[in-house]
């Protein structure tokens, strides 16, 4: 009888390397290189942030109290960045969280228990999540907590360090579990074929929501912004501020504004984890049972009338057969191929990010406060 631990190790390694939709980002399937490049890119981003933050805090002439409250915006920014990175990772790994049809065909014939496959998949997801969190915080996480400890002692520095990493882990888990819950519920409610169709649109919506929230979040991480009654409704909808509250509470802050935010963070994290894990487990086992025989994305059956109207419009717009063929091929590829749709979304997302960065300036005004332009006079 095969050794389950050995099977777990083999499957864990394979699932981990296939966590991100590799056929999407690398047609040649150079998995190890690609994952190292991903991690290096995130670590480089962390390095640039640390390069900016460390000298700014180390040379600041502000009084300690002002420096600490000025650091809130950076703390919130780092939390929001971690959440955005984990969110993007979850979107890229969207189709890898459940077994695909190929997995079911290949592994379904082998003497491997469902439990072993499930555990290997879960461990691979956890590891990939941990790696992305670690990579994006590697330099900031090793420097920033020591720059702004609430208690000015060695114990304070260690506490700040622990608070930082616990908060980042919690924030990352919240985003990932929330998206896992959406994915799991969709997979559980719909048939495999319908799930694939709907899931592509949910994936796109999640992608744009993450970018939108990240770029449009207003700068509320100030003593006045957090205490102001008119901001409370908005704060209850912005997860990065809940986890800022959690970070401050773990760090020993007595500010009452952080108490409520930290409470929200803990409750909503627990809900997201519970719903995410339950929905995922249910969807996983449903998928294992039914996914084998279900077809992949297939064209929607359209009525004869719709076909005629579509044909008429395409004929009018594109008179030459070659133009018509190119247009129809492109449209059908984007409509039916998840990979092409996600690729298009990534390019669209880059454009959206640039547009949102300018929109934010317009919304808050060029002289208004941004996450990164206060705290250092």
């Amino acid at each position: 009888m095969p050794d389950e631990r050995r099977q777990f190790r083999i499957l864990y390694r394979d699932f981990l390397f296939r966590m991100v939709d590799l056929e999407l980002v690398s047609a040649r399937g150079e998995i190890q290189n690609l994952l190292v490049q991903f991690a290096a890119l995130l670590a480089a981003f962390s390095f640039v942030l640390a390069l900016f933050l460390v000298p700014a805090y180390a040379t600041s002439t502000l009084p300690r109290e002002e420096l600490l409250s000025g650091a809130w915006s950076h703390e919130e920014f780092l939390i929001a960045t971690s959440m955005a990175v984990v969110g993007m990772f979850a979107v890229l790994a969207w189709n890898s969280t459940l077994l695909d049809r190929r997995d079911l065909v290949v592994l379904g014939l082998l003497p491997v228990r469902t439990r072993t496959i499930f555990l290997a998949k879960t461990a691979a997801i956890g590891t990939a999540l941990g790696i992305s969190l670690l990579a994006v915080n590697i330099f900031t996480g090793l420097s920033f907590p020591f720059l702004v400890p609430l208690i000015d002692s060695a114990f304070g520095a260690i506490r700040s360090f622990a608070a930082y990493w616990i908060t980042m882990l919690a924030a990352g888990c919240f985003v990932f579990c929330a998206l896992l819950a959406v994915n799991g519920i969709a997979a559980h409610l719909f048939s495999y074929r319908l799930f694939l169709r709907i899931s592509s649109f949910v994936q796109l919506a999640a992608f744009f929501t993450i970018l939108g929230v990240y770029f449009l979040t207003p700068a509320l991480a100030t003593p006045r912004g957090l205490a102001s009654p008119e901001n409370q409704a908005l704060l209850s909808w912005l997860p990065s501020f809940w986890f800022l509250g959690l970070f401050q509470k773990l760090n020993g802050s007595a500010n009452p504004a952080f108490g409520l935010l930290a409470q929200r963070a803990v409750i909503r994290l627990a809900i997201a984890c519970f719903v995410g894990c339950a929905a995922y487990a249910l969807a996983y086992y449903k998928h294992m049972r039914n996914g084998f025989e279900q077809p992949d994305i297939a064209p929607v059956e359209r009525s004869r009338g719709a076909k005629r109207i579509g044909g008429f419009l395409v004929g009018k717009l594109f008179s030459k057969p070659l133009e018509r063929a190119v247009f129809l091929f492109t449209a059908r590829t984007v409509a039916r191929s998840r990979q092409h749709r996600l690729l298009l979304a990534i390019y669209g997302g880059v454009g959206l990010a640039i547009a949102l960065a300018y929109t934010k300036s317009l919304l808050h005004g060029y002289g208004g406060q941004h996450r990164d332009d206060y705290g250092f006079a």
Partner: protein
């Protein structure tokens, strides 16, 4: 095969109760070559061998041997995404036979194979059957079926319309070939008329 007969086939390890033991005894070549395209042929066989619990030494020895005999040794470090359909089919065959299964299910195993490999497979099926393996072989290529099978089941619209040895079927139906037996039992269309319509459509 009805439920009672299925149970008798797999009586040694109750199918419903011990799927793992059942899968351990089974080698299956599916019709569609679903493989992990990012792995190389050697890596895929290594993974399958390890998941089947074969000792590492055997895995290497057997996978190298299969790759050499199937003419894939030169391409063993090339990702499967670059393999042709025939090469993928050979990887599937090797993966199905790696653990010396007692029961072998072959669903259109000749699909995509070159002439040499098809001849080898045909001979291999006979040899394995001669050594006591149970081989269930599904194909639409009737001449191959006729050459390699000792017992034939013809399915038509999900129902068994013939279930006997090839000699017995020939005698019963008074027909010389399996193709003619099949035409008699399962063909409902006028092949000649359809052919003419297709030609007319081509020449339109």
């Amino acid at each position: 095969m009805n439920r009672a007969r299925e149970k008798s086939y797999f009586a040694a390890s109750r199918f419903e109760r011990n799927r793992i033991a059942h899968r351990q005894r089974l080698g299956y070549v599916p019709e569609e070559p679903h493989l992990y395209p990012h792995l190389t042929g050697a890596e895929y066989l290594e993974m399958v061998g390890q998941l089947r619990g074969l000792p590492d030494r055997h895995v290497t020895e057997k996978s190298d041997g299969f790759l050499r005999l199937f003419g894939l040794y030169e391409d063993r470090f090339v990702p499967i995404s670059s393999y042709s359909k025939g090469m993928r089919q050979k990887v599937l065959l090797a993966a199905a036979l790696l653990h010396n299964p007692e029961i072998i299910l072959l669903d259109e195993p000749f699909s995509g194979l070159d002439v040499n490999s098809a001849l080898v497979l045909r001979s291999l099926i006979r040899e394995l059957a001669g050594r006591g393996k149970v081989i269930l072989f599904s194909s639409h290529e009737l001449d191959i079926v006729e050459r390699v099978s000792s017992h034939i089941v013809i399915l038509h619209k999900g129902r068994v319309v013939a279930n006997d040895s090839i000699e017995q079927l020939r005698t019963l139906m008074s027909l010389p070939t399996l193709e003619e037996i099949f035409s008699q039992l399962a063909l409902e269309q006028d092949t000649k008329a359809i052919t003419e319509e297709i030609v007319n459509l081509i020449e339109l």
